[in-house]
Amino acid sequence: MQRFLARRLVHGVIILIGLSILMFTLLVLTPGDPVELMAASNPDIRPEDVSMLRKYYGLDDPMYVRYFKWIRSVLKGDLGYSRTYGTPVTKLVVDRLRNTLTLLATSVAVAFTVGVTAGVYSALHQYSAADYVVTVAAFAGLAMPVFWQGIVFILLFAVWLPWFPAGGMMTPGVAPGWPMFLDRLWHLVLPVSVLATSGMASWTRYMRSSMLEVVRHDYVRTARAKGNPERVVIRRHAMRNALIPIITLIALSVPGILNGAVLTETVFSWPGMGLLLFQAVLGHDYNVAMAVLLFLALMTVVFNLLADLAYGLADPRIRYD
């Protein structure tokens, strides 16, 4: 187990370094740079001003020099300075991370609760009308692109039925305490609904098939034969075992949901990592974009590792030799 963990950690570091080189190269090769953006919006800017600014931002250095400068400061724990926001990237990312984690955790919790409940219900009522409704809803959820769904939800629930805000994370100036808590909750409803949809849909499908497989096993039949009430049979024996593969699946899905947050946050103006990445790429704010992309890559590596570990813990047949 320890050897497996050490090997995977080394692999993880190599993958992250490779990804960082790839991401840095792609960002630098993206047409335009911050100074060109400034020059484009200012008809009075002169070539010497442009040269001065390029030197100021270190844009004249060759790409490999810029990469090594960046990686050296990252290894020292310094993610650099945001050109757009004028603050250290670390501070910026920490602030935004909190908002993204709020969105992510709520979405996973909602998707898990609804997905598992719907999946179990669907399995226990196989081929019933409810099963068909859940199945169709799950496929619809899987098929809807996040961006499109976001716009549709805004039109439905913020414009036509003005129940929820069309974006943002808070009503500016709302009183702290209970009103602020409710205000945040109110702003969370639409983005969470959108972000939770795909996870909810796929987990419903997996839970349904996992449950259908488990209820046919001998130990479930035995539990019934022993005279346990149906509720106990389902909760204690069937559902507990059916959940094992789902837990692994959730670990694997989190990076996907996190990536979905990039679009969801953009649509709903939710000030998290996704919106930050979008703005950073548009504004050629390389340090910020690299920090967010590196974080997304790190999350993917970590959650894949967690999924592998969860396999072993959940299924005693798997050994880490």
Partner: protein, 552 residues
């Protein structure tokens, strides 16, 4: 049901009721002492000589008072100074050798938001700071024309004298002023470090609103400054929300979640939809100084012949573009200056849609029709030309498609080769890397005289380090002479006459095909009074927001 389950259910019901009732009431209470602005950009900073995003300029309009500013009629009026200097009154003097002296008297009541007085000393220090090549000013276009900015009498810190080393017709439009007491110590330590000074993101201004908070990615909150000498703003707070997607911003306007929009990227379709869906909103279609056009590379072997350029203008149905794409709201352009500019000439040569005339001009230029319906030049080469524009700009891409069809009708094969905006403006135009045509817009102001667009010294070349914006490569001796004259002509009437003459020549030569003038599109809640959009970039919808009021 057990007690614990009942309690849980009760809690859920209470929370649901609270969600349904309490939150909207929180919003409702707020709306009357607050204006929520929505914009599709987040500023990069709030020190507008160190950064350049329009979003920043819009917020700064509320935070800083200006020496002199434009109103909605595009008339100059004084704010922190007693009057706009004029030649007639003698506070703007012409000196021998083409030099000038302009004197401003600062008003005594203005203070910075930390209570310190706002004086001419701040202005003269700001000039010294910005003139230093080590300070991070992104442009020194006007500063280079100034010899010095002085407070001549130490006992009178309210008089500022600006000494100009060349004649500049807009020398009375004021200057940027920063608070010396806030920035000087850090400037002396490291001028380049001012780029990250607190004044850049958390400015101390002197305008009707002071900055309270900037929540990155979310909003900026401003609060009325209670010592603003022109009168405390009637609405207590301004909130500037950043909603980056124009469709989502549009939804926010329709849902009444923003009260006014600026820097919004709305199309005319979206504005019409807003009007239709929310009668509580006024959609402002303000004539602006944004000139959409096609630059022609006049160094191209075919396009150097002005008859070919004129044929292009006759072949393109600009009236139809305006009617079909913009519901007739965006006027067809016949020259490069918009109607509201002082130098606009309504009597220039105009090019109506006339394919027959276009074909005749092309025949005169030596083109003959080929078997495939495309013209051939005297050497037998097919007349196919390329047009470039900003990739992803839906309106420009639509215009390209229409123009392609219209040029095909006169025998010109148009190929489309678009580039991302950063590439198009970063290298394609500046390095003149377009073989034939490039479509984009110029943003102008009342002080725009087009010298960098049309003077032959302003053709970017490796020799001049790609300086200038004469991207067509237009070289015309008489035009150069006229520009040299009007650039230093102080007398507005004479300047206008020279500008008009220049446009007559321009409209005959056609180094660019004028398409249409874009509108400045903003929205505001109908219950907000005194909202008067200007249509000027740099003077945004909130220019007079201290007198806005919610109608009861």
């Amino acid at each position: 049901m057990t007690n614990s389950k009942r309690s849980l259910l009760a809690l859920v019901v209470v929370a649901a009721l609270a969600l349904g009732t309490q939150i909207p009431s929180v919003v409702a209470q707020q709306s009357r002492d607050t204006v929520v602005f929505g914009m599709a950009q987040e500023p990069d900073c709030l020190a507008m000589t160190f950064c350049s995003m329009a979003a920043g300029m819009a917020v700064v309009n509320s935070v800083f008072a200006d020496m002199v500013k434009y109103d909605d009629k595009w008339q100059l009026h004084s704010q922190t100074v007693e009057k706009v200097p004029t030649l007639k009154d003698g506070d703007w003097q012409l000196l021998p050798g083409g030099k000038m002296k302009v004197t401003y008297k600062f008003k005594k009541g203005f203070t910075w938001h930390d209570g310190k007085p706002h004086t001419a000393l701040d202005a003269s220090w700001t000039y010294l700071m910005l003139r230093n090549p080590r300070s991070p000013a992104i442009t020194r276009f006007v500063l280079r024309k100034i010899e010095n900015m002085l407070v001549p009498n130490p006992s009178d810190p309210y008089t500022l004298v600006v000494q100009w080393n060349e004649t500049y017709p807009f020398a009375n439009t004021g200057h940027t002023v920063y608070p010396r007491h806030v920035m000087e110590r850090d400037y002396l330590r490291d001028p380049a470090g001012l780029k990250s000074h607190k004044q850049v993101r958390n400015p101390i201004g002197s305008g009707p609103y002071k900055l309270v908070e900037w929540v990155p990615g979310s909003h900026i909150t401003l609060e009325a400054y209670d010592k603003f000498p022109e009168g405390v703003a009637k609405i207590k707070k301004q909130v500037w929300r950043f909603i980056l997607d124009a469709t989502v911003l549009q939804a926010n306007v329709i849902a009444n979640q923003v009260d006014a929009t600026e820097i919004n990227n709305f199309s005319i379709d979206q504005m019409i939809e807003i009007e239709r869906r929310n009668p509580a909103v006024t959609a402002h279609y303000t004539p602006a100084m944004i000139w959409e056009h096609i630059d022609v590379n006049v160094e191209n072997e075919w396009l150097k012949d002005k008859r070919v350029r004129q044929a292009l203008a006759h072949a393109i149905n600009r009236e139809e573009l305006s009617t079909k794409l913009f519901y007739g709201k965006q006027p067809v352009a016949h020259t490069w200056l918009p109607e509201r500019h002082e130098g606009f000439n309504p009597n220039v040569k105009k090019y109506a849609h006339d394919p027959a005339r276009a074909r005749a001009l092309l025949a005169e230029a030596g083109f003959t029709m080929g078997p495939d319906g495309i013209l051939r030049d005297s050497k037998g080469a097919r007349f196919d030309i390329t047009i470039m524009t900003t990739a992803g700009n839906a309106v420009r891409e639509q215009v390209q498609q229409i123009i392609k069809e219209q040029l095909r009708a006169v025998g010109i094969d148009l190929r489309i080769d678009n580039r991302p905006a950063s590439v198009l403006f970063g290298s394609t135009t500046q390095r003149r890397q377009f073989p034939h045509l490039v479509m984009y817009a110029w943003l102008m102001s009342p002080t725009t005289l087009g010298n960098t667009f049309w003077h032959s010294t302003q053709v970017p070349t490796p020799a001049n380090n790609w300086e200038g914006q004469n991207y067509p490569g237009f070289r015309h001796a008489e035009t150069d002479k006229l520009i040299d004259q009007y650039m230093t002509e102080i007398d507005a009437a004479k300047r206008v006459a020279l500008l008009r003459k220049q446009q007559e020549i321009w409209a005959d030569e056609l180094p660019s095909i004028p398409l249409y003038f874009r509108l400045h599109l903003t929205t505001s809640n109908k219950k907000l009074t005194n909202v008067k959009p200007t249509g000027l970039s740099g003077t945004y919808i909130n220019w007079n927001s201290q007198i806005w009021q919610w109608q009861q």
